[in-house]
Amino acid sequence: MPSPQSLFQKVWDAHTVRQLANGQTQLLIGTHLIHEVTSPQAFGMLRDLKLPVLMPHRTFATVDHIVPTNELVEPYKDNLAQAMMDELRKNTKEFGITFFDRATGKQGIVHIVGPEQGITQPGTTIACGDSHTSTHGAFGAIAFGIGTSQVRDVLATQTMALGQLKVRRIEVNGKLRPGVYAKDVILHIIRLLGVNGGTGYAYEYAGSTFDGFTMEERMTVCNMSIEGGARVGYVNPDETTFAYLKGRPYSPTGAAWDAAVASRKSFASDPGCHYDDVVKIDAASIAPTVTWGINPGQGISIVENIPSPETATSADDKAGIIEALAYMKLPAGAPIKGTKIDVAFLGSCTNGRLSDFREVAKYLKGRKVAAGVKAIAVPGSQIVALQCEKEGIDKVLAEAGFEWRAAGCSMCLAMNPDKLIGDQLCASSSNRNFKGRQGSPTGRTVLMSPVMVAAAAVTGTVADAREVFAVN
């Protein structure tokens, strides 16, 4: 009997091409996803080196970061955005790469498109020039966010040079309390382990809470692994994984599907395998969580007070609190609940999927966004948008006062026209609350689950969705 191994180890070994002189591994990347922001320079480098794309059929492109969500006709008003769009079209055409352009009806945020199309599969390696590539780990893939030089490497060689990661198993057991979502689970984990606690690790998410999660919930958690410093996050594949993938456009069919399921199941971590660290969390201990500061680890439950420098646990913590409170213009020691908001944003690769909008629509029916709050809802893909429209979710949201937009990254990082203005404070279902993240150098972000964004939108304040919507 071979010794028990983790999924990470098995996938790593299966994709190892050879050792490099510096001790790193030349790792085969089975699936490469690209978008308009981090790929043009890589294609430029290929041209400079006169190199072809080694396996063009294993790279898939979409456009997400810069697309306007309220302007569908090209040329876009923003010349730079149009230039990036044109560049991606040119590059994918020239190198023979599939491009889910807007006209295909399959365009969307790269981390939503991959799973939706069945391009994301268990037991595979995936890379993309985007740190939220960890999302794809929800399927039991090992998925790496990479820089542009590595995008070049993958295009030219279908491999990259990488060092092994350690594996930390994060077990969450039990049933989440009503009003608590996958987003709260990951915000809680990051609060607990810190924004750099995962450096050098792959996070394996497990336990009965994850077993019971849908694929979309698993994706929300894996998506934010990088916010905890972990470049890779994954969940072992199970029946839920295969049920989601069966029949997707890029999933194998017929006998090939059965063979694929059998082979891909075998990548799941073996019982008794070695982990470099294990963390256990009781699901019942997790409350709706919101951030109060300028990194995703600065989170508290909705019923807690904003930290004050006096309660700091270390000199670093104290400096962090002082800097964050000054930027966020929040009073130390006051409840976070009741903080006035200016903008509500629903969307992103963290929470821009069908289940997110369904859940929000359930509570927004018959409600109105508070006066003075700008509220936008941005589906993660054209397919998500279409399904929402079929189910009337767009109408429920629009009647409540949300602007229903076209698919893209939008206000998560505001590379398109959707931006905060001045010091505006945004209740956001996205993944980063860094200074200036949402497009205004003084804009403020409070991260939370989509239902909490809905509660904030209707009350005009950071609110406890359980109270606002009588969830119990």
Partner: protein, 201 residues
């Protein structure tokens, strides 16, 4: 493609203090609307170097005349956290920096920087404080990072540094950009792909 063997970096240094300095702070996303990396250096730390309301130049260390011409960046823990954007190390390098000394780095940022031949070395907080103090009292202080001996020498002092062995090996042996080696492995790549059903098809 012969690459330089980077065994040492010497120059003046500038302290940019703080932990968790993220990639959005290093290069705000709106400056990534480009199809080349040209000109990114100009926007390094843009939103903390210019007052967002008035547009006036702030007292950020990079704006201070005494630190002009510095080629070594000093910082805190978890430097470069956040996005995988290579635009961040590109902006730092294009601004004129040749190396970074910090307490720790975010994973992706570290790899991206190494691939650009910009060493990211790790030192203890108190040692970084010593370098910063020397630089503060005399900005002309020559700071020498020695990747072979794994030490930083400055103002008659010396402190220990560490660096991940694979990165150090790649830098000092002139193989920090792996593309050449990866291309050499392409025949083996094809063999490995044949063994994986999803790639063999």
């Amino acid at each position: 493609m012969a690459l330089a063997k980077i065994t040492s970096v010497s120059g003046r240094a500038v302290p940019v203090v703080g932990n968790d300095i993220d990639t959005d702070r290093i290069i705000p996303a709106r400056f990534m609307k480009c199809v080349t990396f040209d000109g990114l250096g100009e926007f390094l730390f843009n939103d903390v170097r210019k007052d967002p309301k008035t547009g006036e130049i702030t007292d950020h260390p990079l704006n201070q005349p005494r630190y002009q011409g510095a080629t070594i960046l000093l910082s805190g823990a978890n430097f470069g956290c956040g996005s995988s954007r290579e635009h961040a190390p590109q902006a730092i390098q294009k601004y004129g920096f040749k190396a970074i000394i910090a307490e720790s780095y975010a994973e992706i940022f570290f790899g991206n920087s190494t691939t650009l031949g910009m060493p990211c070395v790790t030192a203890a907080r108190e040692d970084i404080a010593k370098i910063a103090a020397a630089v503060d009292s005399n900005p002309q202080t020559e700071v020498a990072i020695d990747l072979v001996k794994l030490e930083v020498r400055f103002a008659g002092q010396s402190v220990k540094i560490t660096q991940r062995e694979s990165a150090r090996d790649a830098l000092i042996n002139g193989r920090w950009d792996a593309i050449g080696e990866l291309l050499d492995g392409v025949p083996a790549v094809k063999e490995t792909a044949k063994k994986l059903p999803y790639l063999a098809a």
